[in-house]
Point group: C2
Chain length 198, copies 2
Amino acid sequence: MTASEFTSRLDAQVAFLKEADRLKSILRATPLIDGSRKENSAEHSWHVMLYALVLADQAGPEVRIDRVIRMLLLHDIVEIDAGDHPIHGNVDHAAQEAAEAAAADRLFGLLPDDQRDGFRALWDEFEAAETPDAVFAKAIDRFQSPVTNLAGNGLGWRGYDVTLEKLDARVGRPISRGAPGLWAWLRPKLAAFLGQPG
Amino acid sequence: MTASEFTSRLDAQVAFLKEADRLKSILRATPLIDGSRKENSAEHSWHVMLYALVLADQAGPEVRIDRVIRMLLLHDIVEIDAGDHPIHGNVDHAAQEAAEAAAADRLFGLLPDDQRDGFRALWDEFEAAETPDAVFAKAIDRFQSPVTNLAGNGLGWRGYDVTLEKLDARVGRPISRGAPGLWAWLRPKLAAFLGQPG
């Protein structure tokens, strides 16, 4: 690589990293546990990576936890352009998928071509939720919010019509697919909190 | 493992993960690039992990980038008890080290013993900054703030007496030790911004 190619590569990498700063201003529906404010998608990404590392023993033997962590590092970057869509809100899924794909084109497109393609492949794998790594990453991503909401006395659920039936479908299904032990642990706590027979 | 041991282990892991939520309320001296507010240590941790992944080609061949990412995932958790200390502020380093060691005892001590010991070893390695992985992790951790401060027109440096000489010592030394290409790229930009001969 010539000095000029080296500089161009680094210029592109830093341009992407500076643009990524904006993920810190994308707010999610879930508040912090202390209720002081809403969580943003950058700190959420850090937290779910920590969940993945700590809860790695809940994954099947074929899961490579460092790949899971890389997926979770990248998984929400598209929200810089496409926004966050609360799991208990009503969303036009096709429009949302199109917006996220366009966001991935633009944002990963800031990087040098080799990294653009590698990051996009990892993000596509996460979104498809078919490989063991992606299935576990999705389970972890879904597990953090209900744990936070329980710890915060359900503050993050107010304004949404949250029932055990809905949690079973939107949260329980992806968690039990990738980390059945986590769902077995969580579901009775959700049932007790919501006052519904588990 | 019996069902009861399994549940105790998961209870301890989730207790740690909930406590970690508090890192989102630890504020750093550096503002977001858009100047809207100060950065917190959880979103900073996410951002430096992204820096490490994107800038992995700046590391020496012996650096294992997934270990670097794990170090950066954990590196600031002690600030929940010990607080953040701005690099350009004046700090009693011995008192700060003692506070951080006590914080590591308490916070990693929430985890099951095997994870407590593994996480502590990784954090100690980062702090010691002797292994190639730790030296690169420290370089990346130091690189993000000046990039952010330049992009934000120096907002994060106001109130501190920042000179090129101080940046050479506090930022340049750790960056050039772990990632000399990054310092060669950054230093002329810092000199130009500060209006000092580089």
